[in-house]
């Protein structure tokens, strides 16, 4: 088994290196076995028994890369996938009500949400993202460093001035003004808030007991703004403001962002590599039954010395067994594509690719999907 997987990865990397997007027709150099079964993986061509249309709904954070994957997958197979970025909560609802073939969420489902879903389902990791603090301190151009304690204190409202010793002591040489801090948070429910508050709950007992973590929380203060753009806009125009946005948003809009001391005590800059590092070596629990295990798939406050501490996976939810074999085939193949060839698009779009352990886990899940009890993919069908 292990050997096959290793081979699979070597192959995938090779296939990805060979072309990705332009690889519409099977290239002889990537091996002949794949073309033998048009409905197997890796995905190379149309498959007659595959459903021609799928619907998905959920998180907005991964929507840009999902759209890219859907487009590429469509070029390869002709399958039309309609993904609606209505938010994680909406995605979970749509998946629960079976109005979408797959759901997408930035945060793991709660026990109550898991119970509400009839039939088993898998929570499959697809890519990774991160949240970074962005600020606007007059006359300060240096990158500010924050201890977890300082960050929690700022958002709790216990640190109210920029020249507070808790901030100043970590930033020697930067002259911080005696200015009030205005915190800016998301007013709409958001996976970004979920990750940020999950991190603060881990590093601050005070935060955990007073506020806690969820996609919407009872903020102790500050102003709320809608979406990443709203938060970034408010921070930009309010002197003394600090907020949090997705890393990809900060990168693509060239926003400055601070560094946060990670659990190993290091100031590692937020980058796609340091985000992937946060999941490096993490053993994921049984993603087919997450009840009571949700905390284990959280990768915030990673102990890896090179990790960015406010990182997260984003997930797709799929049924373990689907009565419609055509749909099951399409979903399985599409997900396989996402977690393999599709990963090569991640960095360009500002997402951190899955580390190998997480890809292995995703692969196992995809392979165990069944229709009427019989598997869709067999190990042999791919390599």
């Amino acid at each position: 088994m292990k050997k096959i997987l290793a081979a699979a990865f070597a192959f995938t990397t090779l296939a990805a290196a060979c072309g990705g997007a332009s690889n519409v027709t099977p290239s002889p150099s990537t091996g002949g076995t794949a073309t033998a079964d048009p409905c197997g993986v890796p995905v190379k061509q149309q498959c007659a028994t595959e459903a021609q249309a799928l619907t998905g709904a959920g998180a907005t954070f991964p929507a840009p890369i999902y759209t890219k994957w859907i487009d590429e997958y469509n070029k390869l197979t002709g399958v039309q996938i309609n993904y609606q970025a209505i938010g994680s909560g909406g995605g979970i609802k749509a998946f629960t009500d079976k109005t979408a073939d797959f759901g997408a969420s930035d945060v793991p489902l709660t026990d109550a949400q898991i119970d509400a879903i009839t039939g088993g389902f898998y929570t499959v990791p697809t890519v990774m993202g991160a949240v970074v603090p962005t600020y606007n301190v007059p006359n300060v151009t240096a990158t500010l460093k924050f201890t977890p304690d300082a960050l929690a204190g700022i958002f709790l409202g216990t640190i109210t001035k920029w020249n507070d010793p808790k901030i100043a002591s970590e930033n020697p040489g930067v002259s911080l003004p005696d200015q009030n801090i205005t915190t800016v948070h998301r007013s709409d429910g958001s996976g970004t808030t979920g990750v940020f508050t999950d991190y603060l709950s881990k590093v601050s007992a005070d935060w955990k007991s007073k506020v806690g973590s969820a996609t919407s929380v009872n903020w102790p203060g500050g102003v709320g703004a809608s979406g990443n753009a709203g938060v970034a806009g408010q921070v930009k125009q309010t002197p003394g403001a600090i907020g949090y946005v997705e890393l990809i948003y900060a990168i693509s809009n060239k926003l400055g962002y601070g560094v946060v001391k990670n659990a190993a005590g290091k100031y590692t800059e937020a980058s796609l590599d340091s985000v992937t590092k946060a999941a490096d070596g993490v053993t994921l629990p049984d993603l087919g039954n997450l009840k009571g295990q949700q905390a284990k798939i959280s990768i915030t406050n990673s102990t890896n010395a090179d990790a960015w501490p406010i990182s997260t996976f984003t997930w797709i939810l799929i049924s373990k067994d689907m009565s419609d074999r055509g749909k099951a085939t399409a979903i399985v193949r599409y997900l396989w594509y996402n977690t393999h060839e599709g990963q090569t698009f991640a960095k360009d779009l500002g997402y951190a690719p899955l580390p190998s352990a997480a890809r292995k886990t995703a692969e196992e899940l995809i392979k165990s999907v069944t229709s009427g009890g019989s598997k869709i993919l067999t190990v042999n069908s791919s390599y």
């Binding site: 994680s88 709660t110 973590s213 919407s216 102003v223 806009g233």
Partner: protein
Amino acid sequence: MTRTFDRAFAAGVTALAMLVPLTLAGITVLLLIDAWPALTTFGLSYFTTTVWDPVKLVFGAAAYVYGTIVTTIVAVALATPIAVGAAIYLTEFAPRPLRAPVAFVIELLAFIPSIIYGLWGMFVLVPVMRSNIEPALQGTIGHVPLVGQLFSGTPVGLDLLSGGVVLAIMILPILMAVSREVLLAVPPTQREAMIGLGATRWEAVTRAVLPYARPGIIGGAVLGVGRAFGETMAVTMVVGNSSRDITGSLFVPGYTMASAIANQFVEADTELYFSAVVEVALVLLLVAVVVNSVARLLIRRAVADRPAGAVI
């Protein structure tokens, strides 16, 4: 044949007329069903507390109700004098060739999508409020006892006052249009009689024209209140979206019922949370009904008090 047709026609229009109240009833029933878990869990405390905590599942909507009412009052208080003043100018003083174009421009404001007001509010109004208007207000009437309370705290720009100002601009066209129509409908003989008695223009307007037009102006204000209550997008972008304790200051970030629903509906992922958000919608509907009824009563009284022959 014609009689049967008449009967069918009557039945048809009756059915059409019933559609609207039935829709309202249907919406109310649906909201009640979905809000039931929150209604039974929190009871009256839902209306008296301001803690809105989706993590601990404790919900109190008092801050939302307060924010909605405060922003609406600010909006109507700011917009009514401007609208009535502009309407008086346009009907009594403006050179005739100017009247229609100016009225048209003001009414154009009504066609601007609310997201544009929101963007303008966020990028233009809020910074001006924060660094100019709010400090100035604080420095002047901020020192007056009692009233000064309205202007206390650090000006952040994203607050109830900004929400009210954006709303005022948004309800201005409807208020102005209605006031203008009403003033135009005042019989010219009223003015002429006053002027003939040697009254000044001020006296003619305040003693003869405005009393006639009062019910209509109040009616316009009611329409404005209706719009201010339900307005979501633009207010959300400037009001601060933060439901803390009710302080009585206009300079604190606030929340309105409509923005609370818009912000939280999609991600309200537990039954009780969802239900609490739906209850906000139910309360919004009820408050709207109450405000409209009160306003209608006001109009009826104003109509009853009007001078004989006045227009509405």
